[in-house]
Assembly symmetry: C2
Homo-oligomer: 406 residues x 2
Amino acid sequence: MKFQIIDGGVTSPEGFVSSGISCGLKGENLKDLALIKSTKLCNSAGVYTKNKVKGAPLLVTKKHLKNKSAQAIIANSGNANTCTGEEGIKNAEQMCEYAAKELGIESDNVLVASTGIIGFKLNIGAIKNAVPELVKRLDKQGYNDASKAIMTTDTVQKTMALKLEISGKTATIGIMAKGSGMIHPNMGTMLSFITTDINISSELLEKALKESVRISYNRVSVDGDTSTNDMVLILANGLAGNPVIEEENDDYKVFLEALKKLNIKIAKMIAKDGEGATKLIECRVLNVPDEKEAEILGKSVICSSLVKTAFFGCNANWGRILDAVGYSGVDFDINKLQVSMESSKGNVLVFKDGEPVSFSNDKATDILSEDEVSIILNFNSGSCSVCCWGCDLTYDYIKINGSYMS
Amino acid sequence: MKFQIIDGGVTSPEGFVSSGISCGLKGENLKDLALIKSTKLCNSAGVYTKNKVKGAPLLVTKKHLKNKSAQAIIANSGNANTCTGEEGIKNAEQMCEYAAKELGIESDNVLVASTGIIGFKLNIGAIKNAVPELVKRLDKQGYNDASKAIMTTDTVQKTMALKLEISGKTATIGIMAKGSGMIHPNMGTMLSFITTDINISSELLEKALKESVRISYNRVSVDGDTSTNDMVLILANGLAGNPVIEEENDDYKVFLEALKKLNIKIAKMIAKDGEGATKLIECRVLNVPDEKEAEILGKSVICSSLVKTAFFGCNANWGRILDAVGYSGVDFDINKLQVSMESSKGNVLVFKDGEPVSFSNDKATDILSEDEVSIILNFNSGSCSVCCWGCDLTYDYIKINGSYMS
């Protein structure tokens, strides 16, 4: 094996357990409180939303991560605990304290996350009452319950694990994530918690996390709205027993590659599970002089409401794609640009040499009717290529977000 | 009178006639070809889309406006004549030539605009055949037909006129515009043609146009998509007989104020008539240190899909407004910010001193059920205030744009 995707999640690496229960924030016995715990203190890193309005849990987690170590993550869905003033900060601190006390660890070593509606005070009493049960349920099989407990409008669970070999030792990375609405490039537009038993310094752990986030979650958009709360956290407890990774050697590269692979898979799951979405739209931007510009071009296309609605209608309206490329602000030579669309059903070229290419509408519609489709923009003018991911814009997005207090 | 809004349109100023007919581009006998003509050569100015992909008519109009004078505008709907290669440029030139020949004027003095789907070759033969009839129909009452002929998914005509007094002379400004989808700040995200009989130098005409566009059309967004084709053109033939405006004197200020007033009215009509929209959303950003930052804040809110869907549902979900304020990138003190919502049914304060304000949901829903609603963001930290306009995001937006080849 180089990498092997396995059944599992955040509890797949050595030394991690987790749990997920209902404490009443979401009602109807829906799971809404999750806990992840390592048997030993972990090197740890986080990447956070760039929204200037930051949720209280994010501020508390950032503070607790100053020493780059942590042992547990507590997270709730059903309430974002954001724009809730001083009381919100206190409540986020208390979530850590309740968990720490029950786990017998330091409160500073607990990280906290919340997701749900903004602007409502957290029912901290409900969480306090539920923490003993949450801790009691901690289990090797708990990854499944935990990943359910952080879902909001998600329609599919996002949990995954991967085995890899590092200097002859077998190590594991596990992940659970949520994200469906308010998803837009600029880190960290969702919750994603990553666990691993790899032995790595906290500096390189952070570096690898940032690099993998940059080319995965930061290239996804569901609706252009960057959330106030979201973050990616990683805990590494070192139990795999590999020689500690302290420099950017081959072991680091293997780990980074594995992390990228997992995060891209999760990022694509998030895009595909965008609120109301019927399909994943991948935009492959090829052969541009500059990687940053390639990313701007790709994001402009996947964020376009008109491209998104066209794809919902399986409509090969490439004019809207060129329009979005044009307003991205990036200079390019339209005469060198080739545009095509692709899915498992085939490929159709629609624009070349500055002019439309005649194509079969029936064939194009058939290609776009798949649940994973690609837009390929070949600028033929450089050596940088990137992928960005989004989804279509549908009646159900309106239904989900137009109803009261979703 | 200072300003008086009157019935009419582009033919209301002295010396202008216009017409609008069907030439077959849109089918079903829908009007799709418009002409505006002045009896004498006009000082003239234009503001154009910033999209890097520019429609062929825009390139031709820019060329013809190099000498800052023009006498006629020909425009079609049903086809944008964009991404159509060299042939597209030739076709746009030919539209000017056909009109010029029939009008007995220079082709360089005709401006051209097209709106509709991107990427299809223009049926120039249909236009050529229709031009004689188009010219024959030129009439003082033709503003109505002309404004119909530039509509695409617009559901209401956008035509207006205003009388004003300049140095004791009565002058008139007329306007017709279209715009419903692919509307986003960054000039000129629609077609807007303005006529006036005011006597003004082409330099000051251009200056006034740019200034009025900046605070009207550039503060409107329907769907975040900046079009390839759109422009605002103004023709001034001087027939009002006022002393020529050659410096920024009181006459200039009166003219500028009138132009702003008209363009803001049209901008709001465009936002309210956004594809599928049920309501106009105004975002008033008050008391910010910097005007540019105020505009960024306002645009961020009116462009948010989550705010737009919430307002469709008459849902006072102010957390989404704060989220959009937060990801705008502008720094602010959340503890000074006051957020309220308003319509003709009243006003409700929802956020103050960094915390939610308790309010009646029934009252808020009632306020938001009107077809013109405002979000008021008072940052209490400076002296600049701006308005931006948008609309809600609805099932009908998906219906209009998800169907084949709209």
